[in-house]
C-alpha cells in the first residue's frame, strides 16, 4: 500500500534531489528492494525512496522535509541489524549513511577518536590499535557494521564482560533532529554534568529519536598481552556453573563465551579450525593485561573449570590460533543458518549468577514446545543467544517458536534479567517491552519520543508496539 500519492511522492523526490543531489536519490525497484531488509528473518518491506545524503546538514534537511510531509525515515548503516530496526516497515525513505564514512580525528592527547556514523567499526578498531590504543566494543559483525548502527543499538560484543558496551565509550555526539536542527551533546570530558545526559539518551535509541551524524569515542591503552583457552564440557550445566564460579572467584576475563554442541558443529563445518565437535559445550575464555597477571588469571580460571567437570582445558598456542577462535565464534549465528532455512535469534540476558538456571530453562522450553534451540553467547555477562532453528514456511512450528520465546523472555525477567542485552527492541521485542518497563516506564518513553519526534517519523513501528503481548499464566 503506497504511503504517498504519486503526485506527493514526485514532489518529495524533487525535494530530496534538491537536498542530496540526483545521484543520491533512488526510487528504482531494484534500488529500493536491496534496502528492504536487514539481518532479521521474516521482515521485509520496500521503502518508497532511498536517499544517501553527503553531510550532516543534508541529513538534517532531509529529516525536516520528512517531518513536514509525515514521511517515515529509516536510517541504515550496513543493515546487519537483528531486531528489524533497519527494515522500512511503513514505507517512506531509507536514509543511507554510506557517504559519511570518514574518521575525522584521532586525538592522542585526550585519547579520543571522532568519526562519522558510516565508518566501519573494525576500521576504527584497527586504526587505533596501530597507535597502541584500544576501542573495546566488538560486536560479532564489527567487520561489516557501521559505528552509527552500533551507537543507535548500543551494541555489545565479545569483550563486554570486562570492558562494557558501546555506551561506555561515547563521549560526545552530533545529532540531526526531525525539526531540522543539529545539536551537539557531551564533549571530550570525563566529567560533565551540565544538563540531562542527552548523549546516552541517543545511544541505544534505535533510530526513533534522531540521526547520529558524528561521534567522539573514548579510547583506552591497548592491553599488553592476551591469552585464550577453551574449556570443554560433556554437561552444559557444568559449563554454566563454571561461568558463575569464575565470576564468584573475582576473576573478570575479557571474554567468556559459551557454545553448545549444535553451534560448535555448525561453526566447525564453516571454519575448519579443529573445534572438538564431540563435546556438549565449550567455554571460550580470553584474558588480557600485563603478562604476569594474564598467566596467573588463566591458570586460576583453568583450575576453576576443571573443578566444575571440564573434561579438558586447552590453551591457544599462538595469537593466530586465538584470533581464529574468536573469528569462528563471531560466525556462530550465520553458521547455524546452514542447518535450517530460518534461524531466529534472541538475546535474553540474566544476571551472570543465573546463567546455569537460564541454560536449563532454555532447554526445558525447547522440549516443551518441540522446537530446536541452539544456544551460544556471551555467558560471562549473562547475555545468551538462544537461536531457534526452524522454517518460516511451517506456520505451526513458527507459532510454537513464538510461544517458546515468550516463555524464555518471562523466565529471563523472572531471574532479574532483560528481554535484550545488545540487539535492541526493534519490532521483534516491542510487544514484550512493557513486561520489562511496566506501564509507567513505557509512558516516560512515550513522553520523550513525543518531545523529540512529535510527528512520529523516526523509525516508526519500532520499540513502541501497537499492543503488548499478553503474559502467559504458566510462569509467575
Amino acid at each position: 500500500m503506497p504511503l504517498h500519492s504519486e503526485k506527493r511522492l514526485n514532489k518529495l523526490k524533487a525535494q530530496l534531489i534538491e537536498i542530496a543531489g540526483n545521484e543520491n536519490v533512488d526510487d528504482t525497484t531494484s534500488g529500493r528492494l536491496v534496502y528492504s531488509y536487514d539481518a532479521t528473518p521474516n521482515f521485509q518491506a520496500l521503502p518508497e525512496i532511498v536517499v544517501a545524503p553527503r553531510t550532516a546538514e543534508e541529513i538534517a534537511a532531509v529529516l525536516k522535509v520528512c517531518a513536514e510531509t509525515s514521511t517515515p525515515v529509516y536510517t541504515r548503516g550496513s543493515g546487519t541489524n537483528l531486531c528489524a530496526d533497519t527494515c522500512p516497515l511503513k514505507g517512506g525513505i531509507v536514509l543511507l549513511m554510506k557517504h559519511l564514512n570518514k574518521i575525522l580525528e584521532l586525538d592522542k592527547e585526550n585519547l579520543t577518536i571522532t568519526v562519522q556514523p558510516g565508518t566501519i567499526t573494525k576500521e576504527i578498531s584497527d586504526l587505533v590499535e596501530k597507535d597502541n590504543l584500544f576501542y573495546p566494543p566488538d560486536p560479532s559483525s564489527m567487520k561489516i557494521s557501521t559505528i552509527g548502527g552500533n551507537l543507535a543499538e548500543n551494541s555489545g560484543g565479545l569483550r563486554g564482560l570486562k570492558y562494557g558496551v558501546t555506551k561506555d565509550y561515547v563521549m560526545a555526539l552530533q545529532v540531526a533532529l526531525p525539526n531540522g536542527e543539529l545539536i551537539r551533546t557531551g564533549g571530550k570530558l570525563t566529567k560533565d554534568v551540565a544538563g540531562y545526559d542527552l548523549t546516552h539518551l541517543f545511544v541505544g535509541s534505535e533510530g526513533t529519536l534522531g540521526v547520529i551524524t558524528e561521534a567522539t569515542l573514548k579510547l583506552i591503552p591497548k592491553p599488553e598481552s592476551q591469552k585464550t583457552i577453551l574449556a570443554l564440557y560433556q554437561d552444559i550445566e557444568a559449563a554454566g556453573r563454571s561461568v558463575s564460579a569464575i565470576i564468584a572467584h573475582k576473576m573478570i576475563p575479557v571474554t567468556l563465551e559459551f557454545l553448545d554442541q549444535d553451534t560448535i558443529k555448525a561453526v566447525e563445518d564453516f571454519a575448519h579450525i579443529g573445534l572438538p565437535t564431540n563435546v556438549k559445550a565449550i567455554l571460550l575464555i580470553v584474558q588480557d593485561g600485563p603478562q604476569e597477571i594474564v598467566d596467573r588469571d588463566i591458570h586460576k580460571i583453568a583450575e576453576i573449570c576443571r573443578g566444575e567437570q571440564a573434561v579438558d582445558v586447552r590453551l591457544a598456542s599462538s595469537a593466530e590460533e586465538a584470533e581464529e577462535l574468536a573469528t569462528a565464534r563471531r560466525s556462530a549465528l550465520s553458521a547455524l543458518a546452514r542447518l535450517k532455512p530460518t534461524t531466529i535469534l534472541e538475546d535474553a540476558t540474566v544476571p551472570r549468577s543465573e546463567i546455569a538456571a537460564m541454560v536449563r530453562a532454555i532447554a526445558e522450553v525447547a522440549q516443551k514446545y518441540h522446537v530446536r534451540i541452539s544456544t551460544f553467547g556471551h555467558a560471562g555477562d549473562g547475555n545468551l543467544h538462544p537461536t531457534c532453528l526452524t522454517d518460516a514456511r511451517d506456520e505451526d512450528e513458527m507459532s510454537r517458536v513464538e510461544e517458546a520465546f515468550a516463555e524464555i523472555f518471562e523466565k529471563a525477567i523472572e531471574l532479574g534479567g532483560t528481554l535484550t542485552g545488545e540487539h535492541g527492541v526493534g519490532v521483534t521485542k516491542a510487544p514484550y517491552l512493557e513486561w520489562k518497563l511496566g506501564k509507567a516506564g513505557m509512558e516516560v518513553m512515550r513522553g520523550i519520543k513525543q518531545a523529540i519526534d512529535p510527528s512520529g517519523v523516526m523509525n516508526p513501528g519500532k520499540v513502541f508496539a501497537d499492543k503488548t503481548k499478553e503474559r502467559t499464566a504458566t510462569i509467575k
Binding site: 528504482t28 525497484t29 531494484s30 534500488g31 528492494l33 536491496v34 534496502y35 528492504s36 531488509y37 536487514d38 539481518a39 528473518p41 521485509q44 520496500l46 550496513s78 543493515g79 546487519t80 554510506k98 557517504h99 564514512n101 566501519i120 559483525s141 567487520k143 561489516i144 561453526v267 563445518d269 564453516f270 560466525s331 556462530a332 549465528l333 550465520s334 553458521a335 543458518a337 546452514r338 532455512p341 530460518t342 534461524t343 518460516a392
Partner: protein, 442 residues
Amino acid sequence: MMSAADKKNIQREFKEEMDYDELLNCMRCGFCLPSCPTYIETGHQEKHSPRGRIALMKGVADGLIEPDDDLAHSLDVCLGCRACEPVCPSGVQYGHLLEDARTILQRNKRQTVGVKMLRKGIFDELFPRQDRMEKVTGLIGFYQRSGLSKVARKVGFMNLFPESMATMEKVLPEVPKRSVMKQRPRFFEHEGEKKATVALFAGCLMDTMFFDTNNATIKLLRKAGCDVLIPENQLCCGALHGHNGELEKSKQLAKQNIEAFEAAEADYIITNAGGCSAFLIDYDHLLKDEPEWSERAKHFVGKLKDISRILVELDFQKTHRLQLPDQIITYQDSCHLRNVMKTFNEPRILLKAIEGVHFVELEGADTCCGSAGDYNIVQPEMAMQILDHKMEKVADTCAQIIVTANPGCLLEMKLGVERAHKSNEVRAMHIADVLVEALVNE
C-alpha cells in the same frame, strides 16, 4: 529493454527454476559485504553486493518485484569471483545461484540477429571445437608474426576498439605455429622415481594462446615424477558458457570431458588454469539431475588438482633446486583457484622455495583483478577501475614479477602492467613458467 511478456516469463522461470532453499539459506547477515569487489568499488551499493543480488533473485522468485533491466545490470556487474563463498558462514552457494539466474535472463534476452550470431559463433562453433580454437589463435599468431600487428598499431586500427581491448592486443602472448601445436605428443614419461600418472586438462585457451605454459606444466609434472597423458577429445571446460547463461552447452562439454578422461585412467587430473578448474570441480553439481552422469562426474571431480597443489604434494620444491637472480616476486590469487579450489598456500610455498627471490605478499591478493573471464570485455569500466586499484597495490610491493595461476588473470596483469607503463620493469608470468625458469641445471 524487457517487454511485459519477457518480465512475466522471467518471473515464472525464477519461481520454477531457482533453488529456493539456497535462496533462503542466505540469512542476510552481510558477512559477504567486505569481500565483494564490486560492493567496495561502487562505494557500498547494496545492489552490487552478493546479499543484494540474492535478495533481488529472491524478490523476483517471491513475486515481490518484477524483473527489470536494473536487476539484469546488477547481475551483469558481478565478477563471479565467488570471494563471497568462503566467507559465508551459512555456506550459500552463490556461484550456482548466479549461474541459474543468468541462464534464465539469457534465455529471455531479446538480442539483435548480429549478437545472436556472434554468441552462437563463439559458444557453439568456436570454444567447443579445439581445431577451430587452433585456427583462430593461429590467425592471431600469423597476425603477430607477419608484421601486420605493427602495421595495425601504426595506422591506429586498434584505436577503433575500446581502450582496454586495444591495450589487450599489445599484451597477447606470441602464439606458436599450428604445426608446432599439432606435433606435440600425447604421452610424456616421468623423470626420476615414478610417483603418479596424471592426465593434463589442457584447456582451450591454455593449449593455444598459452601453449608454452602448458609445455612448462608438463615439464614440471615429469620432473615431479609423473607420467603425463594428454587425453584426446578433451574440450573447453564450459566455464565461459556457464557464466554467460548457456548452461546446456556446458553440460554437453562436461559429458565429453568426463568421457575423455575416463579413458585415460590417470590417478589425477591436473589443471593449470584456476578458472577452468573451478568449473570442472562443479561438474557433479552441473550434472546432478542426470543419474547416469552424476556418479561419473563425482569420480572425475575427485581426481582434480591444480598444478601447484600436486607439485607441493609430491615435494617438488624439496627435491629440485630452484633459483633466480635476486628480485622481488609477488602473487595475485586466481579467485576461482582460491575461493572454489581452495588452493592458495601451495603457489606461495613454491615461490618462496626459489633461492634469490624475496617473496612479498600483495595486499588484497585474494580479491579479483577485474579479469573475471570475459568481464573486462563486457564491463570494461568497472574492470579497469578494479585493475588500476590492483596495480597501485602491486606497485607497493616493488615486485619485478607478478605471478598468477590462470590465463585470464595473467592477461589482466599484463594489461595492468602495460597501462601503468611498466612493461620494461615488471613481468607478469604464470607460475609454471616461473618455476621452469627457476629450475637449476636446465
